[in-house]
Amino acid sequence: MADNKELLESLILELRRGTVILTVLSQLHTQEYGYSLIQKIQDKGMSMDAGTLYPLLRRLEKQGLLDSTWDIYENRPRRYYKLNPQGEGLLKQLTNEWNQLNHIISQCLIREE
């Protein structure tokens, strides 16, 4: 039974992995820094690992989907990230893809009588 629980956890992790980027991009229409973004995502009910998110933000910037700026006027300097036009476009396409997938999987999950 313990094995089953472990397996379930690893499968859930696998399932969520594919949705991380979509989740992050979807929350960056307005600019956020690392920790504020984690909170924002958590407030929506999704947990996200800081160790996954911080490197991911840099990667998405490197891929040309996000722009970043440093705000050095606060008590601690923060790097803010925001979707750029290319990121906005890609998010739109990913969202469509997600909606289709969601629909298809829902169909698959209906038990045939």
Binding site: Y33, G34, Y35, S36, A50, G51, T52, Y54, P55, L56, R58, R59, K62, R76, P77, R78, R79
Partner: protein, 331 residues
């Protein structure tokens, strides 16, 4: 706070220099934000720092996430080929060293057997490790060269695979083919070792009343540097080709093409050496029988025509292999 500094330093020390300061600043700010939230909830700073850093996890793994690079030496695309090549090369090295030691043992009377066995084990161990290290290094290089796309066109690693790349026929190697490969492989290795350690054994053995008086070498012993390395290379290529036949459970068009290419290279080397080099002992006839004109003429004839014999034998061999490739192309 000191712990946070240490943690962040541990993360960035694995990262490229140019991004270190940026990530240090950003990561520290993010960690301190998380700590602040916990202390605002009533936790002591020390506990909050411990809790946040524990949650962030192993700094090495976090650095890996930032690096976003291949975290493996040889990926799935090349791994099976890597294993086969590593096996062939290790087997060749281990076998070669073994033969060399037997030869040494046979010809040096005073070596103690026990000492020789220890030495042999040590040499095989070191030899195999070195062989694997080189093969690994080369494959790691190939894996990384993918970023520049050098090997993208190689059949088994192609990205834009299409249905025409599928082998036309699937054929399990016949057991006899694999045994033939093994025998060829062993002979080539023994030949290679003897060529390079006991060249004088290849010769005409002169007996006087039943006892060996001397061996007159067939090969040119004076200027070995002009031909021996090239001949060795040719034999090694042949050994490798036989090694591939021996190691593979099934043959594809690619493995046939590969073997033909190896044999062709080996053949070109041999032909080049025979045409240009002075491989043979030109004085052989005079040393064996100083007064025999027939033998002298025969030896001259042999030296001239051995090129022709080898060319014909190789052309037949390569033609057979090419025919086998054509068989794979037949639908």
């Amino acid at each position: 706070m000191e712990k946070v500094t240490i943690y962040v330093s541990e993360v960035i020390r694995y990262l490229p220099h140019k991004s270190q300061q940026e990530i240090k600043k950003e990561l520290t700010a993010n960690i301190m934000d998380m700590v602040d939230e916990l202390t605002a909830g009533g936790m002591s700073e020390k506990d909050a720092v411990n809790s946040v850093l524990t949650k962030m996890g192993n700094p090495r793994l976090l650095a890996d996430q930032y690096l976003d690079k291949k975290a493996y030496l040889i990926g799935p695309r090349y791994y099976p080929t890597y294993v086969i090549i590593a096996k062939i090369v290790s087997a060749a090295v281990a076998f070669g060293i073994t033969v060399a030691f037997f030869v040494q043992l046979l010809f040096s009377a005073d070596a103690s057997v026990f000492q020789s066995i220890i030495q042999w084990l040590g040499s095989v161990f070191m030899g195999v490790i070195q062989a694997i290290a080189w093969v690994t290094l080369i494959f790691a290089g190939v894996e990384r060269s993918e970023e520049v796309g050098v090997f993208k066109k190689v059949e088994f690693a192609k990205d834009d695979w299409n249905i025409n790349d599928l082998p036309k026929a699937h054929q399990d190697s016949k057991k006899s083919d694999r045994i033939e490969g093994l025998v060829g492989f062993l002979f080539a290795i023994i030949f290679l070792i003897l060529l390079n350690t006991r060249l004088e054994l290849f010769g005409v053995y002169m007996f006087d009343q039943g006892t060996l008086t001397k061996i007159i070498p067939i090969f040119n012993m004076q200027n070995t540097a002009s031909w021996l390395p090239l001949v060795s290379m040719a034999v090694a290529l042949n050994a490798f080709s036989d090694g591939v036949t021996m190691a593979l459970r099934n043959q594809t068009r690619l493995t046939h093409v590969f073997r033909v290419a190896l044999n062709l290279m080996s053949f070109i080397l041999i032909a080049y050496v025979l045409i240009n080099g002075n491989v043979f002992n030109t004085e052989l006839a005079a040393q064996v029988a100083p007064n025999s004109v027939e033998l002298k003429n025969l030896w001259i004839w042999v030296q001239r025509n051995i090129v022709v014999v080898i060319v014909i034998a190789n052309i037949i061999g390569i033609a057979i292999q090419t025919f086998q490739i054509a068989r794979f192309n037949r639908t």
